[in-house]
Amino acid sequence: MTMSEVKVIVRRNRPGTKGAEFCKWPEEPFEEMDSTLAVQQDPSNITAILTPPETQDEEVWKYEHLRQFCMELNGLAVKLQSECFPETCNQMTATEQWIFLCAAHKSPKECPAIDYTRHTLDARRLFTQQVSIRESSLGKLGSVCRRVYRIFSHAYFHHKTLFDDFEASSHLCRRFTSFVMKYNLMSRDNLIVPNMEDGAITTTTTTTTDAAPVATETTTKVTPPTGNTTESEA
């Protein structure tokens, strides 16, 4: 048969695949993709990825994205394993200034960077217990983002080449930055990896902030808005 002579590349790990063969297939160029999955396969098209379908519930949308981020971050974690050892990076640092605690334990503690990464990504209870999004768990998205972001920042500041390599193919940090900015899940000032989004880093000076006081410059005292409907979720 003529068909059999053409080598079909099956991009799939069959049961029993040897370790050496695992995921060992050539990347498919974007132009050659003809399935609908093509849309999903272009990681650089961040706006398209982050635009929710019309009828999508926003909270579920955010939640699912975060879950996706954690899944894809496993790629970075695997790469980090070859370079980031408990002996060399014995703390979760991002720049020399900040050392973070690992929140995945019964009480937070200092873990080596690679353990922090693994613990944070493995903290399944953040996700599994909620099938439908309860109102109460919404506040947690922000804290998950904060913790996950530190993996990016650690990789950036301490394993730069590895990070650049990963970022070039996945655009994950860029996407994550736009995601948290879009939904206002983190403070701009905490996004310390530079040049990720229309200048997230440039705002460290925070000079823009005092431009919008609630009250006018008169000396009358400012009463808190009791309704607090419009402001808080700006």
Binding site: Q91, W98, I99, F100, L101, A103, K106, S107, P108, K109, E110, R134, E135, S136, G139, K140, G142, S143, R146, R147, N184, M186, S187, R188, D189, N190, T205, T206, T207, T209, D210, A211, A212, P213, V214, A215, K221, V222, T223, P224, P225, T226, G227, N228, T229, E231, S232, E233, A234
Partner: protein
Amino acid sequence: MDGDSINSPDRNGISKIRDLIRRQRQESDGGCDESSELDFLYDDADNYTNEISELYSYTEVPEFRKNLAAYDAVMERWGIPLQWQRLSPEVRKSVILRLLNHFELSSKTLRAEAARAILYVAQGCWSEVQSEQEQQQWTRYNVTLLLKNGIFQAVVDLLCLEIESGPMAVRKPAVSLADSAELRVIFSILYTIVETIRTKSDDDTEEFEEQRKAFKAEIAQPVRDELLAVKLLNMVIKFCGGSAPHFPIKKVLLLLWKVVLFSLGGTCELRELKTKYRELAGLAPMKEDTLEVSRNMRAASPPASATDLLDAQNERRNIRPLRRSLMKQTSLDESAALDLEMGDQMEEEMKEIEERRAMEESGELPQPPSPRPMTPVPAKNKGLPWTPKVRQKDLDAFLENSRMKFVGFPIQGDRDTLAGLPAPIHEGVKVLKQHIYVSLSEWQMTREEELWRCPLSMKESDTDSPAHGVEALYAAMLPNLPQYIIALLKILLAAAPTSKSKSESINIMADVLPEEMPMTVVQSMKLGIDVARHKEIIVKSISAIILLLLKHTKINHVYQFEFISQHLVFANCIPLVLKFFNQNITAYITAKNTIALADFPSCVLGEPPELTPESLELGEPQVYCWRNLFACINLLRILNKLTKWKHSRIMMLVVFKSAPILKRSLRVKQPLLQLYILKLLKMQTKYLGRQWRKANMKTMSAIYQKVRHRLTDDWAYGNDLDARPWDFQAEECALRAAVDRFNSRRYGEPSKILPDFEPVDHCITSVLGRPVHLTNTFREYYEVWLEQEVFKNPVNWDEVLSCPGYF
């Protein structure tokens, strides 16, 4: 009344003595005006301002500045203008998120600084406000903002961290305020958030309401597989165990109380739940609500004391026939009054009494021959505040007794046949049936028995275990419940005003005492007030926590309630409460351990006040101390809950000589408090003897007037002391067995309860794969066994198949 007594020289002398005694008593009571009733409204908690200010002790006042300093330092470092009120909402949010990031830093100082800054924000950024009201508004606004950005969870995480890594390693001889600095900041943030969200206000927006609901759900959810309430209870155990003497126990207890109150609900929710569960169980709706009814009650007049004894003697000498007729009169009226409308009557009666009083005071009314104050005039339509109740048990006993008397043999389980019984008995049964009231507990107990008897055919439905926060809390508390109870009672004992501070095993003062002891007189006066206030607040929160747990579990499932209450009894709660009341309770209730100037937020608004002996006294004068009265009522309610229908525990009340203690407490003129005391007295009058009853007729009539009647209950005259020997052990053991059965059925492992009904494993591999342990003896003599049992006994296996019995 003196005008009358002048006539006879003999009585004149008596009245002089009486006056003297009365005056002395007034002085010893701290000058409390006896004739005025306390204008006190019982509620789940005091008003918001007081509840917040009680969070901070006066020695903590200097720390408010530290919070401000931390906030200023952070804002300056980030180059953000200091005025919170001027910031745009986005910037505020960004500040909060940045502070949140700092919570997870490894550096302790940075974390502490961020926590202090957050606390300052939660306190309403007080340096920018002018008035207390404004401060509250800003607190409300800021707290919603904090909550929305997940601060609460983050602070709970921080709490976990601090619990683990406190300054425990350093064992110092004297623990002071400084040792708990970080923990106190954390607790202050948590408490401010919980209390602010919990408190309802008139101008709550719909959004706020939503947020409250969401937060209520959140707080009842386990964090890191542990409920917040249970985490706090564990802290209490640790504190009592002595391994963490630096825990700020007052704040822990306050937060625990508020978390339980908020997540489970207070009086309102309790009433709703009870109504709902009664409906689900198919029981008639509740008749009255205790708190509602008692709100319309009047306090009893000054009760029996030395003066009363004199009165009683007088009466016996002079007007005995009159009194007897009076009593007959009222008891006759009872049945007639029952069917009438209660509300109108009450009002009328009150008016009448009030008028009479006014006239009496101005001396217009012709005095009755006896100089006794408030001699009950035979009232025309005397109404009682409660509709009487009858238990099914009582009706059965009544029927059985009458049948034995008139027919000669009992009919088990029959409640309708009246054959052979005279007409008055018919009527009696009719009245009893009218007032039958099946309590939720009785229903739950019978239901539990059924469930136990038919473990396979009957399953628990939703009506049996309604999904409510109590269920989760109880299940989580169950493994350590006795320890929790003991710990709470230990602290209560240490905080009781009568206990001596020297012999205490636990030091509850660690979070008031400053590092350096006061030097001046004013300072030590202030510290004295602070310490007393600290104790009062601890008593208040513990009493509220226990009462809430009891009330909620009682509605949820009576055996949960019995489990807790039995542990309370075993931990000597009954004598402890009695000991608490065995002090000058009027003085306790009127105690004024408050320095208005040092209360938050007044202490930070405006100029720091100069403390002088005079300024300690400043503030609104008050007739009573809200928290102390509240605590007293709670403790009495707990005592009532523990002893109701429990013969053996009522006997404990008698054995510990509670009657004089309780009677003395009746001097506090607050209807609700008196009601609970009277209830406690009522259940033990039977055992107090004729002499006591004779000497305390006034208390007896107060009981008659104010406590619900049980129709066949002969509480006042019955003398069945010999009929029911006091067998504490047996009763408690029977209860214990029922409770254990319930606990193991509902919370234990299913395989342990019904081993016979477990599915049999008939997969060959798994059965053969199971490890079999052989004894050493068997191993040693294995060959002998093989020889004797297997080889020597030929087995005809075919017979097994042909035997019909096996398959």
